[in-house]
Amino acid sequence: MSSMTRPSIRAEVTPPPATAAARAGRSRVDPLYYVFLLPSLVIFTLAVTLPAVLGFIYSFTNSVGFGDFDFIGVRNFIAVFRDEGVLGAYGFTLTFSLVTVIVVNAAAFLLALGLTSRVRFRAALRTVFVIPMVISGIVIAFVFQYLFSNSLPLFGQSTGIEPLATSLLANPNLAWLAIVFVTAWQSIPSAMLIYIAGLLTVPPEVYEASSIDGASPWQNLRHITLPLIAGYAVINTVLGFKNYLNAYDIIIGLTDGGPGVATRSVAMSIFRGFEGGDYAYQMANAVIFFLISIVIALIQLRFTRGKGGIAA
């Protein structure tokens, strides 16, 4: 498998060599090709494009999700910007995403370094480290919820560490750290595998040459490894942000948004559109959320372009 192609996004855009259709002349396309393409286009249009357009239209109305409604211009958007609950959700989600991206990348990189060095039991260790990736987020969140609200306080009481003596999840200022922890626990494996792939692309000759020149392991890391795998760090950051901004499952399992609304994510606030009758209002929120996601993705992709053309 490892010998398979790893084209960059640029390779995708480059036209492939002359295809069968091209050689046969432009006039003849086997109609079957349209049939092959059709299912994707149809389900995508019906399940994504149509709801996206409808949602965008609804965001300018006062609809409650059913019945009659009027267009009310941008009033929903203005209200969203004044809604402390929604702003709080954005603050939490962005902070949480940023911290999680940093924690995950640091841990994943160190694990990848370890697993590509001359350690024993490498395959077995890797097998274990990847397990969290295949466990359901909400299920493992329930497991950690038990540990955070029962076992950790016992530990805190017996060792006298004050902040741990009560449940972390009941503390409005610290509950988000538990969410970072469990999210990182689940996300580290995929980032780690990507870093391992990156580290294995660095030719051993490079290290050989630098050690002949008397470079220390630290200098190797700083001047060879880190620059060469910067592109992989960008991939992990882009993919990570994309997931963490939509955080939902793990939060439901750990805190359900609480205590109070301290850990309510943007996704959770949008889904409340069906509870309080503020359907159109939450659609405006979704539109804003979409724009923010796009802006963050574009900033990251722009950064990628300067890093050797590996795009996510």
Binding site: S117, I131, I135
Partner: protein, 296 residues
């Protein structure tokens, strides 16, 4: 982990490509090995707690000591979780969603990718590719509210609807994987088959689809892991609680588990076991698939 930098291979012994790290025991980095083994505790301890709690009696499970071994060992909690959550039904529904998601993701994306790659010089196919790619930038929460309404309207507020949505949201990524792979397949193979009178339909099913095997395996396993474990989509789309998937059932039964932690953990264990087992048997596709996908 401050000693991690020392684990970089400073002087790799010259070896063949792909065999960059010699396995000679005299060169083993024991400090790094030990640090990594200690780190596996972060993965193993939560799993140990899940398993040991599941085998405890209700009386032992409420004592607050998560790390003690079960004594006496009992299977009662599994039996209770089995009947309480109606596990067979949830399991059947989760399998149903996963099977459709796996088969659908492989077939729908492979067909589209083949049509796109072979007709790349035609605008319609090229634009379709970029149209499908746009899905990568549209997260589910953004379109969720209208989607919930629409699925309800057309009678897809059920497991089938969830499976279809899994196919849709993975479409961009899978189509990208398949197109990249298809471009590495030489056209000559196909042309000789066409010369013998085979049509596009036969070429695809008899030649291309088997060649896509490794990529289909990767797509399929990720489709399984994603659909089996997902909570967000089924919890919002499936309107009938009787038709919920296993992860959602864990949430629904939280209050009924109450202080029967052993029953709760038995239920969690039954929920996570299938994905872990599938992973252990398909590891190499998981590892290689992820890195290939990411580097795209």
């Amino acid at each position: 982990m401050s000693s991690a930098p020392s684990t970089i291979p400073v002087k790799p012994v010259a070896a063949g490509k792909g065999q960059r790290i010699p396995a000679g025991p005299e060169r083993t980095q024991w400090p790094a090995t030990i640090i990594l083994i200690v780190c596996t505790l972060s993965v193993l301890v939560p799993l140990y707690v899940t398993i040991s709690m599941a085998f405890k009696t209700t009386g032992q499970a409420v004592d607050g000591n998560a790390f003690s071994l079960p004594s006496p060992l009992t299977f009662d909690s599994f039996a209770q979780a089995w009947t309480l959550t109606n596990f067979p039904r949830g399991f059947g529904i989760s399998v149903f969603v996963s099977v459709i998601a796996v088969a659908g993701e492989i077939i729908v994306s492979a067909l589209a990718a083949y049509a796109i790659v072979r007709n790349w010089d035609r605008r319609l196919f090229r634009w379709s590719f970029f149209y499908l790619l746009a899905a990568m930038f549209i997260p589910f929460p953004v379109v969720a509210l209208p989607q919930i309404q629409l699925t309800g309207l057309v009678g897809l507020d059920n497991p089938l609807g969830v499976a279809i949505l899994h196919i849709v949201f993975a479409l961009a990524f899978n189509t990208m994987l398949f197109t990249a792979f298809l471009r590495s397949i030489p056209l000559e193979l196909e042309e000789s088959m066409r010369m013998d009178g085979a049509g596009t339909w036969q070429v695809f099913w008899k030649l291309i689809f088997p060649l896509l095997g490794p990529m289909s395996a990767t797509v399929g396993i990720f489709a399984f892991i994603a659909s089996w474990n997902d909570f967000m989509m089924p919890s919002l789309i499936i309107s009938d609680p009787e038709l919920q998937t296993i992860p959602v059932l864990q949430k629904i039964f939280q209050t009924q588990f109450s202080n029967s932690y052993n029953v709760a953990f038995a239920s969690y264990l039954m929920a996570m076991a299938p994905a872990i087992i599938v992973y252990l048997f398909t590891q190499r596709w998981v590892m290689s698939g992820l890195t290939q996908g990411a580097v795209k």
